[in-house]
């Protein structure tokens, strides 16, 4: 009898408190900063092209083989507006297969793919879960706006910075040896 009474007292204490439940379709709880939703591709705005060069390392490392990618020669590399020799042409992720493990992000050395905050991508069409390059870049843009993402290795991957660095290196090679040394020290000082 005492135990039952104790239990009733415990539940009675919660009667007047606010419920902790969020009623889902009407109310959306915010995701955490590190939340891993579906993967998305990111745009390099300085060259107006994706970061992805189609090196296929994420495609190979994916435990569920949910991705496919195809690359071609980058026309902007010939123009000199980008440092990427190859650029992604087609990229498809089958979101039905994706298990959100984040291995693709770990292996990518071009800052090209990131786990976005997207988690409500249900669709009525059977093929609706296949995300192509356009959709993946859209998701990436939304992710950047929401999280304030910046590339981890900007020196290597952002076209503007990388091109400037290459130009500086080329200038240093052409200039006499003494000047090159001073230039390098100033660069290091920055």
């Amino acid at each position: 009898m005492i135990g039952t009474f104790k239990g009733l007292l415990t539940t009675a204490r919660w009667l007047l408190k606010r419920p902790v439940t969020a009623h889902y379709p009407e109310q959306h709880l915010p995701v955490q900063q590190r939340y891993m939703g579906f993967p998305a591709l990111l745009m390099d705005d300085t060259a107006d092209e994706p970061f992805c060069t189609g090196c296929m390392v994420c495609v190979r490392e994916c435990p569920t083989q949910c991705m496919s990618a195809q690359m071609h020669d980058n026309p902007k590399f010939a123009d000199g507006t980008s440092h990427r020799r190859k650029i992604i042409n087609e990229f498809e992720i089958n979101l039905n297969r994706c298990i959100l493990c984040g291995i693709c992000v770990d292996v990518c050395s071009f800052d090209a793919i990131e786990m976005s905050y997207e988690h409500e991508l249900a669709s009525y069409a059977r093929t609706g879960s296949r995300a192509d390059l356009t959709l993946l870049l859209d998701l990436g843009r939304r992710y950047v706006n929401m999280s304030g993402w910046t590339p981890a290795n900007a020196e290597k991957n952002v076209a503007e910075v990388a091109l400037a660095k290459r130009a500086a290196a080329a200038a240093a090679r052409e200039a006499p040896a003494g000047d090159a040394a001073t230039e390098e020290t100033t660069e290091g000082g920055e």
């Binding site: 009898m1 104790k6 239990g7 415990t10 902790v20 939340y35 435990p63 298990i99 984040g102 291995i103």
Partner: protein, 375 residues
């Protein structure tokens, strides 16, 4: 009736009845089927049928690289994912002869113990629901939700984390981790106390669980029972204590031991373990120092030829991984000793001579997870 003589013995001759329970039965916590042989209300025999959730994880692991196998281990015992990740990563590390840095080990232990708390809270809730009490699962789930939110902020995922890696953890914890976990622990402690007050010494609960499904220590040992279910029978066998790993030797904690080996003891061991886990996490937070979280190693794990057996304490018992490497980047063989599967062996001695009405109480007290039983 003319000309037929029936003796009294023949007229009242009874046969045992077969009663099928599951696989789609809510009390089996998944897809588990048992065939009960009943004599009236008494259970004479029980035959468990497993395999409905078999995904071939062990075989799949042979085609995945070591880093990818961690995602498969997430899906074995899907209510204590981090504990599973930890055991596989420890096996691979032992094979490669690397030791994760101390901060990495502390983070692993904190996360593993938080996951143990989440798993036990789920057990308390679902066990009460098995016995017909609706309220405790609400309290249990509320606290589990808080723990999962913490996981989301640390690992990025609520359940399938892929956070513990071979050689350490994926990344360092967020800067506000320590104060947030301390606040979380206070909340969870209140929640555990609430469930405890609500259920443990409730008369109806006691009547349903005391002296039900008793298993004595010799039988339990011969069945290979481990974890809280074995400790309920009176043996203080805890892998964390007996074969210490990670930073467990630096922590002081008790191993709760039961007396009777009945359903109530098995339930109460888990409640007591919740309190021990809370104290362990607090000690870890006090002792943790700054430093690297990942050992220096090659990006792709390629252990040398050899084999290793590593075991550790899961919320359900003693989980073991037997790992064979042929020197490539994929394991040659991965064998898991899942505690739930081995604990199921003791179902028959527990169920014998119990009432049918107690079958659910006994099965629930073992706290099996079918993802792990069937692999």
């Amino acid at each position: 009736m003319v000309g037929v003589t029936v003796t009294t013995e023949q007229a009242y001759d009874t046969v045992d009845m077969m009663l099928n329970m599951g696989p789609q039965h809510p009390a089996t916590h998944g897809v588990f089927r048992m065939v009960l042989t009943v004599d009236g209300e008494r259970v004479v025999d029980v035959t468990p049928h497993i395999g409905y959730l078999h995904r071939g994880s062990e075989k799949l692991a042979e085609n995945e690289s070591y880093g990818q196998v961690v995602t498969l281990f997430d899906r074995l015992d899907y209510v204590s994912n981090l504990n599973n990740e930890l055991i596989f990563c420890r096996a691979a590390e032992r094979l490669m002869g690397i030791e994760p840095p101390e901060r990495g080990q502390y983070i692993r232990v904190i996360l593993a113990e938080l996951n143990r708390l989440a798993s036990h809270l789920l057990f308390i809730g679902t066990y009460a629901i098995d016995l017909g009490a609706m309220t405790p699962i609400m309290y249990g789930f509320r606290e589990r939700e808080r723990i999962q939110n913490m996981f989301e902020s640390v690992t990025g995922a609520r359940m399938m984390h892929n956070f513990i890696r071979i050689g350490g953890v994926k990344e360092d914890v967020p800067p506000d981790f320590v104060p947030r976990v301390r606040a979380l622990l206070d909340d969870v402690e209140r929640g555990v106390q609430e469930c405890d007050r609500l259920l443990t010494f409730n008369e109806v609960f006691l009547a349903r669980t005391r002296g039900v499904g008793v298993i004595d220590l010799p039988t339990a040992l011969s069945c290979g029972l481990t974890g809280p279910s074995l400790r309920a029978s009176g043996l203080a066998y805890d892998v964390r204590k007996d074969y210490p790993y990670e930073v467990y030797p630096y922590l002081s904690y008790r191993v709760p031991v039961g007396e009777n080996g009945d359903c109530w003891d098995r339930y109460y061991m888990r409640v007591l373990e919740c309190y021990e886990s809370l104290s362990m996490i607090r000690q870890c937070l006090d002792q943790m120092e700054e430093g690297p979280v990942m050992a220096q190693m090659r990006r792709i794990a390629r252990p040398p030829k050899g084999e290793v057996y590593v075991h550790g304490e899961n919320p359900r018992g003693d989980i073991g991984v037997f790992l064979v490497s042929d020197g490539t980047d994929k394991p040659y063989r991965v064998k898991v000793r899942p505690p739930s599967f081995c604990n199921l062996v003791s179902l028959r001695p527990m169920m014998r001579d119990a009432y049918i009405a107690d079958a659910v109480a006994i099965l629930g007290s073992l706290d099996i997870v079918l993802g792990e039983v069937d692999r």
